[in-house]
Amino acid sequence: MAATLLLALGLRLVGTRQVENGVYVDEAAIGYNAKSLLETGSDEYGQAGPLALRSFGDYKSPLLSYISIPLVSVFGEVVGVRLNSVTLGTMTVGIIYILAGPMAGLGMAILPWHVNLSGHGIEAVTATFLMAVWLVAVKNKKWRTAFVAVFLSIWAYHATKYLSPMLLLVTWWQMRHEGGHLSKGWTILMLVAASLTLLVMVQPFNNARALGVGKQESVVSLTRNVSAAYTSYFSPGSLISGDWQKRNNVYGVENMWWWQIILAYVGLIGLLKTGKWRKEIPLLSLWLLAPLPAAAAIDPFHAIRALIMTVPWMILVGIGWKKITDLPAGRQGLRLKILVIAVACFQTFILWERLTVQNPVYSYQEWIGGYSQLVDQTMKLRIKGIDQVIVDTTDEPAIYSLWQVLGKVDTNKKIPLWGNGYYQVTKWKGPESLVLGNGMEVIFKPVYWPEDQKKTNTVYVGSKKRFDADALKRAGAEVLFEVKDFQGNVVWMGVKTK
């Protein structure tokens, strides 16, 4: 087990410190809010103890920010929130090892889907950990732990807001079925917690991300699209090819290894054929229900939204492995074990290379690579003689969080609240400007060069795509700095008008 955990930890730690290779806006927002909660007791808007992080209208689940506070205080916003995910990801591997044996643990340790995402500050990693805790608690009849894990998971991620209430019912059913019970005090506590949670969860701000789902479709078209999306989470083709977004996959490897898919389906068929599925209702419920919220969003296979599925998939791998190794006895069984372990070792080696070499190059732009250099260069500018510093928001509209983190914005400087209140759902909107740690004020707006070139003594920073070399020359603008990717292509730049 120690070797499996070390392997899991090693693979998940790769790249967590390489901030220059890219930080995504969501992990920056979670990290900055954790720092703000630590230093001021309130989030970036000054809201004390937020029930959801407004985050410019995204209404992120708050649990990850709260639990990241200790590591953020030691390692900073980005690395702290990433290390939190690494820790929870590795602990998830340990739980799966305990639940379904060494092959399931090893499978989770080297699962590219989970390895990639648990190296980053992503809410779904916390939810996946809590689902693993829930499953192990239900299996061991630790009903109180199971209920607490499900309640916490409601605050962990958008998908679990809808999934966990269903799992609460599963827990209750399983507890009654197994002859378990909660004490009177705990039952009252659970009912109060359930009522309060329900009261918060039905509020529009908690469903802001889901309100637009399927609005412009007929019932038949909606049913077809949702069922197609749902089916894709069980389809070997989608499980192997993964997500359409580069940052959600590891370059050049399967999202779920081919032998894991085979073993998982062998495990499932084994459960169904032997009738043992009756003992695995919680596992099968999680497996069947986990992709529902992701499927309702209709988008193609989404690795983050369905990350919870990795838990039941890997447990099925463990069950399938037991089924297969039970069949051939003696030498044949040993040969089979050696073969699978050899394949897993080689795949680990491939995964390591892809994570350290290919992935940083392949998904450089999607992880907004090089932006830390852009912010550094901007902060080094001598403000004298410059009227304004304008940051382009055309390509990355949610870029404010990166400026808050990389620009070392003081957490005491809160963002003014627009609209009717913190929890009042309004149109997605970022701040118009931020004062960076060195006192420089940056203004956020989409840059339109034919108009913007007319402003004198103004610095524009943003994507190379906004600044055509000929247009810059004609306007007499000066290129102040450029940030290049691994291949030497300019991706970000700063220019100053006459």
């Binding site: 077809r224 699209n225 898919i261």
Partner: protein
């Protein structure tokens, strides 16, 4: 062991061997494609130029070569032969680039297919396995998806049959 079981096992063995041959052939074809060669060059360049430490020598070649890339492409193709999204939803929502997807089975029959797979899989598992194995051989060898569509269609009919009998 009765004669039928022996014959079923024999045909399954033959199908398995044929599938391995078809997969091997796919791998050879994939490894020689221009896209594969280009991808390998790109990966080796990344190892040598952008990340000089660790993977520049034989270790790098062991994980970035035409066989590894060809294998990944072939695994992808092999899994497509059983993909319910391709068979029921014209590839939606993961439409494949450069492929004109076609309709094999109507999507609303998927519940009957599931019932059929559950019941037929339990009572006639040998037959399902054998038919699927041969359909996979055909799919992996590139003979379109019709054989697998026929197996899925058969499961749909069985599913409807079981539901009817239950009534």
């Amino acid at each position: 062991m009765d004669y039928t079981r022996v014959m079923a096992k024999l045909w399954l063995g033959v199908a398995g061997s044929m599938w391995l041959l078809a997969f091997g052939f796919q791998m050879i074809v994939a490894s020689r494609q221009a896209e594969t060669v280009g991808e390998v060059h790109w990966m080796v360049d990344n190892q040598r130029i952008y990340n000089r430490k660790g993977f520049a020598g034989w270790t790098g070649r062991a994980v970035a070569n035409k066989w590894v890339v060809g294998f990944e492409t072939s695994v992808q193709k092999a899994t497509e032969t059983v993909d319910p999204n391709i068979l029921f939803y014209i590839g939606h929502p993961n439409e494949r680039g450069g492929v004109i997807e076609q309709r094999y089975l109507p999507w609303w029959l998927i519940p009957f297919w599931l019932v059929g797979a559950l019941f037929a899989g339990k009572r006639e598992s040998g037959l399902v396995l054998l038919a699927s194995a041969w359909a996979m051989v055909a799919g992996t060898a590139g003979v379109a998806m019709y054989p697998m569509a026929a197996v899925y269609g058969w499961l749909i009919v069985r599913g409807i049959g079981y539901i009817w009998q239950k009534k």
